[in-house]
């Protein structure tokens, strides 16, 4: 049995090595069309991976002759700009990187060309099965593969190894352990200027996304038919926002305020990442793409002093790792679709994706996550690989009301966090607000 395993392992390793060698030898000029004198425009988020996209883009120019211009926008501005342009049949951008949770909104507004046909034509280059399952799920809508999940993030918990060693405590795995660990570091003369934890508490999208990211690990779910692994998650969208699990979770958010810096009630992604990089926090949870910031000595005071772990969960439960990130799609109104498809074929391929990841991009393929060079350069990649195994891509709603629904929940969660309402009152309010919203839009 052991011999058989050894032989199969050697065979797989040999196969991987062979395929890697083959991938390195890809003759892109023969794979892609000639797009000389064209300029391909890509619209994306100004997350750290935009630098990685720019770092590899010359390869496409060398292979096809087409220049690649990559424009970045902030989260809200990107959503607004992309959807408004789509509603005006604007083809100024050929490739759109959209948040995975926007797919329902974009698909129903008719902004995207499905990727199905191209996948069938170039199955080996696109290597769909190599994308992480949760990432691939995010890029699909109503049974169709619409986009390519090239910028998949997983939410991990990051902790300061130096502080934990000094305190002599273990890395928390449950909510209760997290509270205890956070309390250890807060207002402790042994750790001057350090606070235990900062959550995403700011009103609206920040607090709303946080609720959706944590609810499954708290043993709850956002609406009736949205079980992990469900084939028909949108069958019954009756909200379950005021379930006991949800109320307990929001109370936990409220309790965690005590272990954050002053003003933590208004913290969102940037404030938390900045405070962690400045050495003011012992722990945070954040999207994997932001670990780069904390590990960059130019921007961070804690480079090399932190490690990653899976997000904590309720005692007796298990972690369902939040998945998010960006999927690359062809603009249905674009005028250079051939060049756009070629760009995606090239950019999403295993070979270029590995280059992109080594430049700091988020590993979105299983092959990239298991790559030894990637793991050596970004030590949290191994945890990321574990996180993707227990992840659920419908964790946040992805239908056309996603943006509004998350914001609505976030407004109420924030009221509980700042103490304006009790956790129960807030989530009863969220239940009412979301029910009304879904009814008004014919989803209930």
């Amino acid at each position: 049995m052991n011999n058989a395993r050894l032989i199969s392992s050697i065979s797989i390793a040999a196969l991987l090595a062979a395929s890697a060698a083959a991938a390195q030898e890809t003759d892109w000029k023969s794979q892609l069309g000639d797009h000389a004198d064209k300029t391909l425009r890509v619209m994306t988020i100004t997350d750290p991976f935009i630098d990685s996209m720019n770092a590899v883009k010359d390869g496409f120019t060398q292979a096809t002759g087409a220049k690649v211009e990559i424009d970045g926008y902030g989260y809200d501005a990107l959503h607004e700009k992309q959807l408004l342009a789509c509603s005006q049949n604007d083809g100024a951008y050929d490739v759109l990187l959209i948040d995975g949770i926007w797919i329902g909104e974009f698909a129903e507004a008719g902004c995207l060309d499905s990727v199905e046909e191209k996948l069938a034509e170039n199955a080996d280059v696109f290597a769909w099965d190599d994308f992480t399952p949760a990432g691939a799920g995010q890029a699909s809508w109503e049974g169709q593969r619409m986009c390519l999940p090239v910028g998949t993030y997983y939410e991990l918990m990051y902790y300061r190894t130096d502080l934990f060693e000094k305190a002599g405590i273990k890395v928390p795995e449950t909510f209760d352990e997290l509270k205890e660990a956070a309390a250890t570091f807060t207002n402790n003369p042994d750790f001057p200027g350090v606070f235990g934890y900062a959550m995403n508490n700011k009103r609206g999208a920040a607090a709303g996304q946080q609720w959706f990211e944590w609810i499954y690990s708290a043993g709850g779910k956002p609406w009736v038919s949205n079980e992990v692994g469900s084939q028909e998650p949108y069958k019954d969208q009756t909200p379950t926002l005021n379930s006991q699990e949800s109320i307990d979770l929001v109370q936990f958010f409220r309790d965690m305020v005590a272990y954050g810096p002053p003003g933590v009630e208004a913290f969102a992604w940037d404030e938390r990442a900045t405070a962690f990089a400045a050495g003011k926090l012992a722990m945070i949870n954040d999207w994997s793409v932001r670990a780069q910031i904390a590990n960059d000595p130019q921007q961070s005071q804690i480079a090399g002093k932190f490690k990653a772990a899976l997000m904590p969960h309720k005692a007796g439960g298990k972690t369902v790792s939040p998945v998010g990130g960006w999927i690359a799609c062809v603009n249905t109104h674009g005028a250079q679709k051939d060049a756009a498809w070629d760009y995606l074929k090239w950019f999403a391929s295993k070979e270029i994706h590995r280059e992109f990841v080594l430049e700091g991009g988020p590993p979105s393929r299983l092959s990239a996550m298991q790559d030894k060079d990637v793991q050596a350069k970004y030590p949290w990649t191994e945890v990321l690989y574990e996180a993707q195994k227990e992840s659920w891509f419908e964790l946040r709603p992805r239908h056309p009301l996603a943006f509004q629904l998350i914001d609505t929940v976030g407004a109420q969660v924030n009221k509980a966090i700042i103490g304006e309402k009790s956790a129960k009152e807030a989530m009863d309010g969220a239940q009412d607000d979301v029910t009304r919203l879904l009814e008004q839009n014919g989803l209930l």
Partner: protein, 310 residues
């Protein structure tokens, strides 16, 4: 034959020339570009907004609009968040404009009193800088200044043993922070107006008041306030309109939170229109904001005319 044609054409041309040279045509020709401009860029968008406001429609699917009558208005006026936004906007207008007038008057008085000094002109120009800055940039700068962990405001407070303050983390503190930013940016505008008013008071009136033994508060009450109240009212009208469209700073710093404590009308309308793409509700909110602006402005302009008549 040719002669016949020319004789019939001549009166026609003469009448055309007289029409072209007539007052009526020239008035129309001069006014037409403005009317077309207004119709295309103001009246048509307004009419379209009203049309959208009585429909249930998403901005991404305008062709699927469903007529709902006044439902959007009824929903808005029973939406606690919208009502809170109205209240916050009103509070912001009243409080910030009151503080701006008082502070601006003190500073304007100081500048007028010291106007004989050469360096005062430079100082006055420097004082104008906040109102020249883009509100969005002002919001971003203050989000760093008031950052509770790394911001300079808490750093300075710690130097005197105070703080730290959760500038945007507490409902009351957040509203006060927004007020402070607004007052900081727009006091120079009010100061400029008040200073113009003070400078327009003839020096012999001050001299007469001094001869009559008037004290400073008599001068203030019977000479300065009556002289500047017209221009101050104009400033108030402009600032109310400004406050009704106050958006950038709140958008960048608090997004209307914590809770609903800093939600303002424009942010609410923006979210409905451009974040949730609910064009019907968003347009109804925009129409309500416009109606409020028109009512306030009409009232204020009438008041201004009455003051001028007095």
């Amino acid at each position: 034959m040719a002669h016949a044609v020319s004789t019939t054409r001549a009166p026609h041309e003469a009448s055309r020339r007289s029409f072209l040279q007539g007052d009526r045509f020239q008035m129309t020709a001069f006014i037409a570009p403005t009317c077309i401009f207004l119709a295309l860029l103001t009246i048509w968008p307004f009419v379209y907004s009203v049309y959208l406001s009585v429909h249930s429609v998403k901005l991404t699917a305008l062709h699927r609009a469903v007529f709902v009558g006044f439902d959007n208005y009824i929903n808005l006026l029973s939406d606690s968040l919208f009502l809170r936004a109205m209240l916050n906007t009103g509070l912001l207008a009243v409080t910030s404009i009151t503080f701006e007038i008082v502070i601006a008057f003190v500073i304007a008085k100081a500048f007028v009193s010291l106007s004989h000094l050469k360096w005062v002109n430079g100082l006055r120009s420097l004082f104008m800088i906040p109102m020249m800055a883009t509100p969005l940039i002002v919001g971003m700068v203050f989000s760093y200044v008031f950052n509770p962990v790394l911001g300079i405001a808490n750093y300075l407070l710690s130097g005197i043993g105070a703080g730290p303050v959760a500038w945007f983390g507490d409902t009351t503190a957040a509203m006060i922070s927004i007020l402070l930013i607004n007052i900081w940016q727009w006091t120079p505008f009010m100061m400029l107006l008040i200073m113009a008013g003070l400078l327009s008071i003839r020096s012999d009136l001050y001299e007469a008041a001094r001869v009559d033994g008037a004290k400073w508060h008599h001068v203030l009450r019977f000479l300065e306030i009556p002289s500047i109240r017209g221009i101050v009212l104009l400033g108030i009208i402009l600032r109310i309109i400004d406050t009704l469209r106050f958006f950038d700073v709140v958008y960048v710093t608090t997004r209307g939170g914590p809770g609903d404590s800093t939600m303002v009308l424009t942010l609410y309308a923006y979210q409905q229109n451009f974040q949730f793409f609910q064009a019907g509700v968003g347009s109804a909110a925009a129409v309500i904001i416009l109606v409020i602006s028109i009512v306030i402005t009409t009232f204020a302009v009438k008041l201004l005319r009455r003051i001028e008549d007095e």
